[in-house]
Amino acid sequence: MTSIPTRLTDIARSNRTRILGFSTTDPVQETRLRDIGFAEGDRVEPLHFGLFGRNPMSVRLNGAIIALRRKDAQVILVESVQS
C-alpha cells in the first residue's frame, strides 16, 4: 500500500499514523514542533479535541501526550499505519 501524505488535522481520533515531514514555510514553527518532540518516523495518534472547531487537539506522540492547535497540527504530514 502506498502512503498518501495527509495533514494531521485530517486524521480521525485514535487512528495511528507515522510522521512523514513538515510542510511549513516558517522555520520557527517547525523548530517549535521539533523541539517538543515531533520528528519524522514518530508514531502519532490524535486523542482529544477541544469544544470549538475541534481546537486544540491532543495527540499521543511516542510515550508522551502533546496538546497543540490545529494551526500547528496541520503542517505535520502523516501517513496511516496498519495496526
Partner: protein
C-alpha cells in the same frame, strides 16, 4: 586550586530538562526544599539555588531551572534557563556541569534535547527519572547501551524515593571530584540542526529502548473523561466550584479559633498594660490590624491546597487544554491559563509566570489582565463584606456566601476576557502563538513537596501581615489617634485626609471610614480590612474582633455592595505594579494597568451603588 578555594566554591550543578520531568522534586528531595528563591506555585518561573551534601560530605550547589525544550529560548523562562547554563545571568557564575533530567517514559520524544544540551560545552550526565513508572508501562531501557550511544553517563533515578536517588548520589560522589578539578570529560559537541539531532537520538533509542506497547494507560483512561470537550469543561467548572465552596465551608472552625485567640490576646494585653497610648497602639493598632488579616489564613491555606494539588497531579495542563478554545476568543491561548490561575493566589507570581508565553503581545495582554483575577489579598475584603451583608443560608446544597464569592470571581474573569479582547484589538494587535504543551501523566503528588508548597504559601501570607500590614496598621493608628484632642474621627489626621478624597468617593456610596481605609490599602488590598479594624477599634466601637457586626450595622447594603464591586477591580497593590514595571521594563504598562483598573473600579462601584439604592437597599 587551593584547599580554601575548594571550600569556598562548591561544585555547581545545573538541573536542566523539559517541564514536568521531575526536576523540582529532585531539587526538593536533595536540598530539603531550602531554596534561595521563594517557589511560587504554578511553573518554576525563577531559578532556585540550593545546597546538599553527598554521601562523602562534599557540598554541592544545585540550580533548579525552568523547564525548557530545545536550545533556542522561545519564551522568557526558557531564555532564563539557557542564560543560566551559559553563565549569562547577572551576578551568577556559570555552572560547572549539567545534570540533564528526562522523564524515562518520554525518552523517545525528548532524547534529542540532551544532544542539544551537550552543545553547551559543559560536562553533562543524563538522569532518567521515573524509571519505576516507565517500567510499569512496559518500557525497557538498556542504560549502558544508551550511555554508549550518547557518549555521556546515564543514570537511572526515581527522584521521589531515597532508594531511587541513591545511584545518582553515588555517581555524583565520584563525578563531582572530576568536575571540580576540571578533569571531567566534556562530551563532543553534536553537529547538525534539530532534525539531524532527532535522527541521532532516534537511532540511539532504537538500539537501547524497547517498549511493550500498552494500549491504554491509566492516564489515557482518565483523560477520556477529563479531556472530553463537554464533560471535561463541566468537570473543570465543578472542580473550581468545589474549591471555592470549600474555602468557605471548611474554614469556619479554624477562623473562629484564630478570632477568639486574637480577642484573648487583646484582653491579656489590656489587662497587663495600663490604659493609655501604648495600650491603644498595641491593642487597637497592631493586634486589631494584623489580626483582621491573619484570620483569613485558613481560607488561604484551603485555596492553595487545591491549586497545588491540581498542579502536582498533572491536571493544570489539562485545564489549559480545555480553556484554550475559549481563551482563543479573547485572542489569548491556553498557556495564559496557568499564569491567570496563579493570579488567583497572587498577581505577582502570575505576572512572572507569563514568561512562559512565547508571543510578546500575548504576554503583555496576560500581564494586563492578571490583576483582575481574584487574588488572595481580595479575600479578606470579600469575606468581611459578604459576612456582614449576605445571610448564611443555603441555596440548595450551596452556601449562599460561597455563591456570592463565586459570582465575584466570575465577574473578574468576564472582565478579564473583555479587556483582553480589547487589548488584542488595540494595544497588542497580532496573531497569538499557538498552544504547544505537554500533558504530563497523572501522578499522586509527593506529600512532602505538597506540604512544603502549602507551608511556603502560608508563610508568604503571614510574612506580608508582618511586613506590610503591621506598619500600615501603626500608621493608621497614628493618623486616627492624633491629634489627641479630637472628639470624633472627623477631627483626626485620618479624618482630614479622608475628607479631602470623600467628595470623589461619596457619589459611589463610600463613607468616611472607607475613604480613609483605601489610602493605606494602596500598599496592599487587604490593608483596607486591617485599616477598617483599626479605625473602628480606635473609635471604641469594636470589642473583640467582631468586625462584621459593626460593618453590618454602620453601612447600608448598597454601600457594602459598592465596596465589593470596587474590589473586583481595585487598582491597589504596589507590589503588582512594581512587578509589571520590572517584567515589561517600562513605566507605560504599570501606569496603564493602574489607570484602567481605577476607571473600572469607580464605574463598577457607581453602577452597583445606584442600582442597589434604586432597589431600596440604600
Amino acid at each position: 586550586m587551593s584547599e580554601t578555594d575548594t571550600l569556598a566554591r562548591p561544585v555547581r550543578l545545573a538541573l536542566l530538562g523539559a517541564p514536568n520531568c521531575g526536576k523540582t522534586s529532585l531539587f526538593n528531595a536533595l536540598t530539603g526544599g531550602r531554596a534561595k528563591v521563594a517557589n511560587y506555585p504554578g511553573v518554576t518561573v525563577e531559578y532556585r539555588k540550593g545546597e546538599f551534601s553527598l554521601p562523602d560530605g562534599q557540598i554541592v550547589e544545585l540550580l533548579d531551572l525552568p523547564g525548557v525544550y530545545g536550545n533556542t529560548g522561545k519564551s522568557m523562562d526558557e531564555r532564563i534557563a539557557i542564560d543560566a547554563v551559559n553563565g549569562r545571568l547577572s551576578g551568577e557564575r556559570a555552572p560547572d556541569a549539567i545534570v540533564f533530567m528526562l522523564d524515562a517514559a518520554h525518552i523517545e520524544t525528548h532524547l534529542h534535547n540532551v544532544l542539544q544540551a551537550k552543545n553547551y560545552g559543559l560536562p553533562i550526565i543524563l538522569v532518567l527519572n521515573m524509571m519505576d513508572m516507565a517500567a510499569r508501562d512496559g518500557l525497557n531501557i538498556d542504560i549502558p547501551a544508551l550511555g554508549q550511544e550518547l557518549g555521556i553517563p546515564v543514570i537511572n533515578c526515581v527522584a521521589v524515593r531515597a532508594s531511587g536517588r541513591a545511584p545518582l548520589l553515588d555517581f555524583l560522589t565520584e563525578w563531582t571530584g572530576d568536575v571540580e578539578h576540571g578533569s571531567a570529560a566534556v562530551p563532543k559537541s553534536e553537529l547538525g540542526d534539530v532534525r539531524e539531532l532527532q535522527q541521532r537520538a532516534r537511532s540511539a533509542t532504537t538500539r537501547s529502548v524497547s517498549r511493550v506497547h500498552q494500549i491504554e494507560t491509566f492516564t489515557h483512561r482518565i483523560d477520556k473523561f477529563v479531556l472530553h470537550p463537554v464533560l471535561g469543561l463541566f468537570i473543570l467548572l465543578g472542580i473550581l466550584f468545589v474549591m471555592f465552596q470549600a474555602v468557605y465551608t471548611w474554614s469556619g472552625p479554624a477562623m473562629d479559633m484564630i478570632e477568639s485567640g486574637i480577642g484573648w490576646l487583646q484582653g491579656v494585653v489590656s489587662a497587663v498594660l495600663p490604659d493609655g497610648l501604648l495600650q491603644s497602639l498595641i491593642v487597637d493598632g497592631m493586634i486589631a490590624g494584623v489580626g483582621a488579616v491573619l484570620v483569613f489564613l485558613p481560607q488561604i491555606i484551603i485555596l492553595f491546597a487545591f491549586i497545588l494539588l491540581l498542579e502536582a497531579s498533572g491536571y493544570m495542563a489539562r485545564a489549559a487544554f480545555l480553556v484554550d478554545s475559549i481563551m482563543a476568543k479573547a485572542g489569548l491561548n491556553g498557556r495564559a491559563f496557568i499564569p491567570l490561575l496563579s493570579s488567583f493566589a497572587c498577581a505577582i507570581p502570575g505576572v512572572m509566570a507569563a514568561r512562559t508565553i512565547e508571543q510578546e503581545r500575548d504576554r503583555l495582554t496576560t500581564i494586563m489582565i492578571a490583576p483582575l483575577m481574584t487574588c488572595s489579598a481580595r479575600w479578606p475584603v470579600y469575606f468581611l463584606i459578604i459576612g456582614a451583608f449576605i445571610p448564611e443560608g443555603r441555596v440548595g446544597v450551596f452556601s449562599q456566601q460561597g455563591l456570592v464569592a463565586f459570582g465575584l470571581i466570575i465577574v473578574g474573569i468576564v472582565f478579564a476576557f473583555i479587556m483582553a479582547a480589547i487589548f488584542k484589538r488595540t494595544l497588542a494587535r497580532g496573531e497569538s502563538s499557538g498552544l504547544l504543551i505537554e500533558l504530563p501523566s497523572y501522578k499522586s503528588p509527593v506529600f512532602k513537596d505538597y506540604l512544603r508548597g502549602l507551608y511556603d504559601r502560608g508563610m508568604i501570607f503571614v510574612n506580608r501581615a508582618g511586613r506590610i500590614i503591621l506598619p500600615a496598621s501603626v500608621v493608621i493608628w497614628v493618623l486616627t489617634t492624633f491629634p489627641r484632642n479630637a472628639v470624633s474621627i472627623n477631627e483626626t489626621f485620618a479624618g482630614m485626609i479622608g475628607n479631602i478624597i470623600l467628595p470623589v468617593l461619596q457619589p459611589i456610596g463610600f463613607n468616611l471610614e472607607m475613604s480613609i481605609s483605601l489610602i493605606p490599602a494602596m500598599a496592599a488590598r487587604e490593608v483596607a480590612v486591617s485599616s477598617l479594624a483599626t479605625i473602628y477599634a480606635v473609635q471604641g466601637e469594636m470589642v473583640e474582633g467582631q468586625m462584621t457586626d459593626i460593618i453590618a450595622s454602620q453601612w447600608s447594603m448598597a454601600t457594602g455592595l459598592a465596596f465589593l464591586a470596587w474590589f473586583v477591580f481595585a487598582p491597589q497593590c504596589l507590589s503588582t505594579f512594581a512587578i509589571i514595571r520590572k517584567e515589561t521594563n517600562s513605566w507605560k504598562w504599570p501606569l496603564f494597568a493602574f489607570s484602567y483598573l481605577f476607571v473600572l473600579a469607580y464605574l463598577a462601584a457607581a453602577v452597583t451603588y445606584h442600582t442597589a439604592v434604586a432597589f431600596g437597599l440604600g
